[in-house]
């Protein structure tokens, strides 16, 4: 279980978020959504331990993350940052190896090739990461994160995967692939917390949605309860109409806003 209680988050002297209380369950994909500047990435930084909250605390499987050493934290959660620039020409395999070493438990030699196949980049192990495109690099870093979180459940309880806009530079096929992989991680018992930009993809893949706006938490709950016309329109400050496909959850079209008038 991930619990954040009464968080106040300040960056460069500016209060970004106040009074945030939320929880995320293992076995589920929790999506954090909200308009630009609503504090999604700042909240993510607090949940991963990058940013110490001014008030409140974050616990992961019962442990206050402020009291965990970097090493112990790395055994409980892996993080995919929004963007990662590698300073030296490491090969793809060397980058994944960093994730393998940060995680706990044995790693079989087939792990790296298997993860590369999972992110649809087989046979890239010996290529310098700089030789890959932006979207490909993003998937390599996802594979590194998965190498660190290779066991969805370990001695410390469920493993947590934090993904900050994991699909931001990916094409539609790879967006679906990445979200499917995240779902599988949750299905295997791990916890997933993802900052999401694409509301349709969120509606399709999230079990739990946290909506940020106006410097705080506007709503949290299952997609059907949070992704409503009223809440989304208020949060994003534009007229949003959600809709339903017969078989599944809500979907939305920006075009519908114009059609309604």
């Amino acid at each position: 279980m991930l619990n954040a209680t009464d968080l106040t988050l300040v960056r460069d002297g500016r209060t970004i978020l106040q009074g945030i209380t939320l929880s995320a369950r293992p076995g589920e994909v929790t999506a954090i959504i909200g308009p630009n500047g609503s504090g999604k990435t700042t909240l993510m930084a607090a949940l991963t331990g990058d940013l110490a909250p001014v008030t409140g605390r974050v616990t992961l499987n019962g442990d206050d993350i402020a009291h965990l050493s970097p090493r112990h934290l790395a055994a409980r959660r892996a993080v995919l940052a929004q963007e990662t620039q590698v300073a030296f020409p490491f090969t793809v395999a060397e980058i994944l190896q960093l994730g393998v070493e940060a995680g706990t438990g044995p790693a079989d030699p087939a792990l790296i090739p298997r993860l590369l196949a999972e992110v649809d980049l087989p046979d890239t192990a010996n290529r310098p990461i700089h030789a890959l495109s932006g979207g490909e690099r993003q998937r390599i870093h996802l594979a590194r994160t998965l190498a660190q979180a290779r066991r969805p459940h370990n001695d410390h309880g469920p493993m947590w995967l934090f993904l900050d806009e994991p699909v931001s530079s990916l094409d539609i096929a790879h967006q679906l692939m990445v979200m499917r992989r995240a779902r599988r991680f949750a299905a295997e018992g791990g916890g997933v917390v993802a900052v999401m930009h694409d509301l349709n993809l969120t509606a399709m893949t999230a079990d739990h949605v946290v909506l940020l706006a106006e410097g705080g938490l506007l709503a949290a709950g299952p997609p059907e309860q949070v992704m409503t016309d009223r809440l989304l329109s208020r949060a994003y400050r534009c007229d949003i109409r959600t809709n339903r496909t017969p078989a599944s959850g809500p979907y939305l079209l920006p075009q519908m806003a114009g059609a309604a008038e």
Partner: protein, 357 residues
């Protein structure tokens, strides 16, 4: 298809242990050549006979030859090895710390800070309380250089590495400013120095390995050796740091501790090397760069290999410095700059298209 040559290049990376073995062999060959080169010629065969005489019992060298070998050339060789290893490892550490292949203690003002520390020790050392003077003794100049280099590195990290990102322009400009400040302070100290201190300063600032002695080596060894031994322990953390500071923390690295230790080790190695050999530039740039090209950027192999190649390079450069214009001697800094400055420009040209430059 476009990526094919890249794939081949990195797949053809030689095995790290093979490179280490090759570097060790190269070091031995260059060492023997260096020991044998000079006004009094000593052939490799005679050198080997001399080193094995303890076992064979044969008296291999004349007393004059023994004097040249044990009191002049061997200390010079040892100092070249020590200083070269220190400079190369300091360069590799600093590049890992700043996530930039152009960071080098000599270029970003740490060498100038260390120089200021050394000059301050020479000029102001007499003012120390006797108890403190007795405590530091012959180590005063290396320790002062270490402190000077350390302060310069700390200032540099605060100025240039804000928010975990280091823009190379900021880094180099901060280095220029630090160098100017240290240079001005050095100038003031030189101005107030008395005649005896000026003589000491002149000898010190000539740098080079010409003044090598076992005593001098002994003053720097307590700083350089721990730095060299500590550096491989930072290798994994520096690898993770290449992805960025938050990413390194995500991978379980204690980022602040790593930075503190890397700064200390850099200042100790570069400061003590500057204290005994003066300003020798570009070793810290060229050596790690060549190694990254051949065996890749993994600090676990990079750091030990940098020590070996740095030592070898400096011994070789010293050999060139004392034979090219014999019987006169070129300052070794000129040799390393001639070899290294073009490499620096080359890296700059290749990276110009990348972000952050």
């Amino acid at each position: 298809m476009v990526a094919l040559p890249l794939t081949r290049r990195s797949e053809s990376r030689p095995h790290p242990q093979l490179v280490t073995a090759a570097l060790l062999t190269l070091l031995c060959v260059v060492s023997l050549l260096s020991l044998g080169t000079g006004a009094a010629g000593l052939s490799p065969a005679r050198l080997i006979a001399a080193f094995t005489s303890a076992f064979t019992g044969a008296e291999a060298l004349t007393p004059a030859e023994a004097l040249v070998l044990y009191d002049i050339r061997l200390p010079r060789l040892a100092m070249g090895l020590l200083v070269g290893a220190a400079l190369a490892v300091a360069g590799a550490l600093m590049q890992g710390l700043f996530r930039n292949p152009l960071a080098d203690p000599g270029i970003v003002g740490v060498g100038a800070g260390a120089g200021l520390g050394a000059v301050a020790a020479i000029v102001l050392g007499g003012m120390l309380p006797p108890a403190l003077a007795a405590l530091t003794g012959a180590h005063l100049i290396p320790v002062a250089a270490f402190v000077g280099g350390w302060i310069a590195t700390l200032i540099l990290t605060h100025v240039a590495a804000s928010g975990g990102q280091t823009a190379i322009a900021t880094l180099l400009l901060a280095g220029i400013a630090l160098g100017a400040i240290a240079g001005a302070a050095t100038g003031i100290l030189t101005y107030i120095a008395d005649d005896q201190q000026l003589r000491d300063l002149t000898f010190w600032s000539m740098g080079s390995l010409a003044g090598a002695s076992w005593a001098k080596i002994a003053t720097a060894l307590p700083l350089i050796l721990p730095a060299l031994l500590l550096s491989p322990l930072l290798a994994r953390a520096l690898n993770a740091l290449a992805l960025g500071e938050p990413q390194a923390a995500h991978l379980g690295i204690h980022v602040e501790r790593t930075k503190r230790l890397a700064i200390l080790a850099t200042a100790a190695a570069a400061g003590a090397a500057t204290a005994i050999a003066g300003g020798i530039g570009f070793v810290g740039i060229v050596v790690p760069h060549l190694l990254r090209l051949s065996t890749g950027p993994d600090h676990r192999t990079l750091l030990p290999n940098a020590a070996l190649l740095g030592g070898t390079l400096l011994i070789g450069a010293d050999m060139i410095a004392r034979t090219l214009t014999a019987p006169a001697e070129l300052p070794i800094g000129i040799v390393t700059a001639t070899l290294g400055a073009p490499v620096f420009l080359w890296i700059l040209l290749r990276r110009r298209g990348l972000a952050g430059i």
